[in-house]
Amino acid sequence: MIGLALAYLCDRAFTTALNILLLAIASAMLMLLVQFGTQLSENLQRGTANIDLVVGAKGSPLQLILSSIYHVDEPTGNIPLSAMKRLQHDPGVASLTPLALGDNFDGYRIVGTDQSFLSLYGAGIAQGRSFSAPSEAVMGATVARNTGAKLGQKFVGSHGLAESEGEEHEHAPLTVTGILTPTGTVADRLILTSVETVWDVHGIEHHHEHGSGHEGDTHDEHEHAHHHDHEEEPHGREGLQPEVTALLIRYRNAAAALRLPSMINRQTEMQAASPATESARFIALFGAAFEGAKLFGWLLAATGGLAIFVALLGMARSREGDLALLRVMGANRLQLFATILFEGLITSGAGAMLGLLVTHGLMVLAQSAFPAIAEMGISPFRLLPMEAGIVIAMLAIGALAALIPAICVYRGNLSNLLASL
């Protein structure tokens, strides 16, 4: 009877196509919302798993979180190195990871940091070794795959955080010393180097005080071309001071969570933002819009179901003769019921599957058109269990829409069948 249901659907191809399209639009809308909502929320949570506090220049706390943890927005500014040193010695700080931003390679951000960054994101070295000496860099898994970078290869960063934004630092090429294991986090799309390397690239003179990229080094022992042997913070060639963009902090204890943010926000020129709070605020910001769009999607799905219902009911009436004929030829009531039900299920199933294809097709297109989507770690090829749920819901809508026409056929008055032929 499936073959017959298909034949009937093909026989009124235009109506069938319209119904499929209606349900495909509804499915795609719901699936897109589920995809973006789920992946965004997961990535936000994953990105903040090991970070309790972000310290940066004053400005929007959300911007600070987005730029420092998710690497999708412009930083709020820089903070002096002295601030980092003060916090490093704070008893409430268990670990502190500096970030120095400002350059990119092929659109991938170059992040000046230290080895603790790797453990924050659970990244390991897949090939080669981590950065240690100046001008050394390791590439995230996605960066290495997309740029085709190999160990030992040199590359030149460009000023700015987006591709083709600023001039290239041709005078200071970096060397790939390692490639990171994939983590499913933003680390896959970053290029890591030492904070000193970032300073060097920008011609900022410094001496190695904080140990970025030099774990185990005794800083007093380490001689460097830029070393300035005095207590004050060193000044660059053009009066630029070594600064960092942000600090990622893990608390040592619960008391620190109460004390540190308020201390930083009230007593310094910096701001402290909680990733958990800002992420929740960010999700809540989109949450209402997501829910509204979802409601609209389900309304569309209900409209699709109604269209199938109208089509099948009309069809069941106009096809009374055919159905009577099938009964005469040997079809039982259940087979006729199943034929109508299959038509509803095939229409809604086709709509849901088309919706699934459209969803992932649109995500691929969106990713190539808007790099921020990839930067947020949203994969167009990931299938979510909720999508299967939407497919099942669409099938249920199709079955429900077909139920009444199918029952009408099932309960048809057989004693008058031949009279209708």
Partner: protein
Amino acid sequence: MSFALHIDNLDFRYNDRPVFSGFNLAMERGRHHLLLGPSGSGKTSLLNLICGFATPNSGIISVAGARMTGLSERQRDALRRDHIGVVFQTLRLVSALDVLGNLRLAAKLAGVRPDDAHIAELLDRLGLVHKLHAYPRTLSQGEAQRAAIARALVSCPGLLIADEPTSALDNANMEKVAQLLLDTAEQTGATLLVATHDERLTPYFDAAVRLEGAPA
């Protein structure tokens, strides 16, 4: 004696009006009968009863030796499927399927495995093999009629029923259709029962049963 259809002392009331009262009919296998009567004389009611779509108030209807009366709906469906082929006045080919698809569907519904070679042979016998993949809307009236006959015969039923097959035809075409039904029934070994008000068909059949009862 072996009967393709045997009706014994049939009583049937429709909306409290008697349609058949003590009606009898015995059709030997291989003998072809006309069921003659004007519109409303009960022809359609009788076909409904023979096919098992309606149940009589009393009496017995047997098809191919099996009693249709007293069976459950499912059993009646099975008996009809296995032994009866029907050609309708309006032909009613499934418009969504081509001729081959219509015959395959009929075979499947009759519980017979569709055999394309048998279908082609049947259509060839009816001069319609070149329309194997044609859709009903592209067929002429005559072609559609032959396709409907082929469909009724695809499962090799013992009893072939045709309802008003010639009512709208001129003499020449009436004769063609009558001959086609009789020849096909002979070739397939089916017993033919034609329900009609068309008296022109009388000379072609072995026997005619006249219905003049109250309208159904």
